[in-house]
C-alpha cells in the first residue's frame, strides 16, 4: 500500500488511528499523496508521517 510493504504499513496505521481518535474498525481511504479520508472528510494528517 502506497509503496510500503504490508508489515510496515500496518505498523504505520496502528499508530495513525489512535493519534487521530479513530478505532481499529474505522475504515479510512488513502490517497496517493498520503492524505486520509474518513467518513467523507479529509483528516488533517498524513499517513506518510508515520513511516519508520
Amino acid at each position: 500500500m502506497l509503496g510500503y510493504d504490508n508489515n510496515t504499513f500496518s505498523d504505520m496505521l496502528h499508530e495513525f488511528k489512535p493519534a487521530n481518535g479513530l478505532g481499529p474498525a474505522d475504515n479510512v481511504i488513502f490517497h496517493d499523496d498520503g492524505s486520509v479520508e474518513f467518513n467523507g472528510q479529509m483528516l488533517d494528517d498524513n499517513i506518510h508521517s508515520y513511516a519508520p
Binding site: 496502528h14 489512535p18 519508520p52
Partner: protein, 146 residues
C-alpha cells in the same frame, strides 16, 4: 563484523498490545506520574509530538494520548504474553483508574495488534484480562491486518 556474527533480523511482530489512554483533556504528564513510568508514546493536544521516525510532527496533536507498549519487551505471535506483560508492568488492575479516566473524559483501551496473514489466526484474549479491562471502564480493541 564477520557476516556470521551479525544478529539475525528480528521477524516482524505478528502480535503485540498497547494500553492507550486518550482524549481531549488527557494530560500525558498526569498519567506518567500516576503510573510512575515514561510512556512509549505520548501526545499533548495542540503540541507537536514524536513520530515513529523520531521526528517531530509538523501538525499539533489532535488529542492527548498516553501509551505503553509490549512490542519491545515481548516476542510472541500470541496476544496473551503481551497482555500479561502489560498487566504486570502497569500494576493492573487499579481500582481508582475507572474514576480517574472518567473524570478526565479519557478513553482507556487495550489495543491489540493482530497480523492475520494466514487468514486463520484467531486473537487470544484471556477472559480474565478482558473482564479486568472492562471493570476499569476500558475496552479491548483488536486491530487486525492481513
Amino acid at each position: 563484523m564477520h557476516p556470521d556474527q551479525r544478529p539475525a533480523a528480528v521477524p516482524h511482530a505478528r502480535a503485540h498490545a498497547t494500553l492507550i489512554i486518550s482524549g481531549d483533556s488527557v494530560s500525558p504528564e498526569f498519567w506518567t506520574a500516576y503510573f510512575g513510568m515514561e510512556p512509549d508514546r505520548q501526545i499533548s493536544k495542540g503540541q507537536p509530538f514524536l513520530l515513529p521516525s523520531g521526528k517531530l510532527s509538523s501538525r499539533p496533536g489532535k488529542l492527548g494520548l498516553w501509551a505503553v507498549e509490549s512490542k519491545a519487551a515481548v516476542r510472541s505471535d500470541q496476544l496473551t504474553p503481551h497482555l500479561q506483560y502489560l498487566r504486570r508492568r502497569l500494576g493492573l488492575p487499579r481500582g481508582e483508574l475507572r474514576d480517574l479516566a472518567r473524570t478526565q473524559g479519557a478513553k482507556l483501551a487495550l489495543w491489540c495488534y493482530w497480523m492475520n496473514d494466514t487468514g486463520d489466526r484467531v486473537p487470544d484474549v484471556p477472559d480474565d484480562i478482558r473482564v479486568m479491562v472492562e471493570t476499569m471502564g476500558g475496552t479491548v480493541e483488536i486491530d487486525e491486518y492481513r
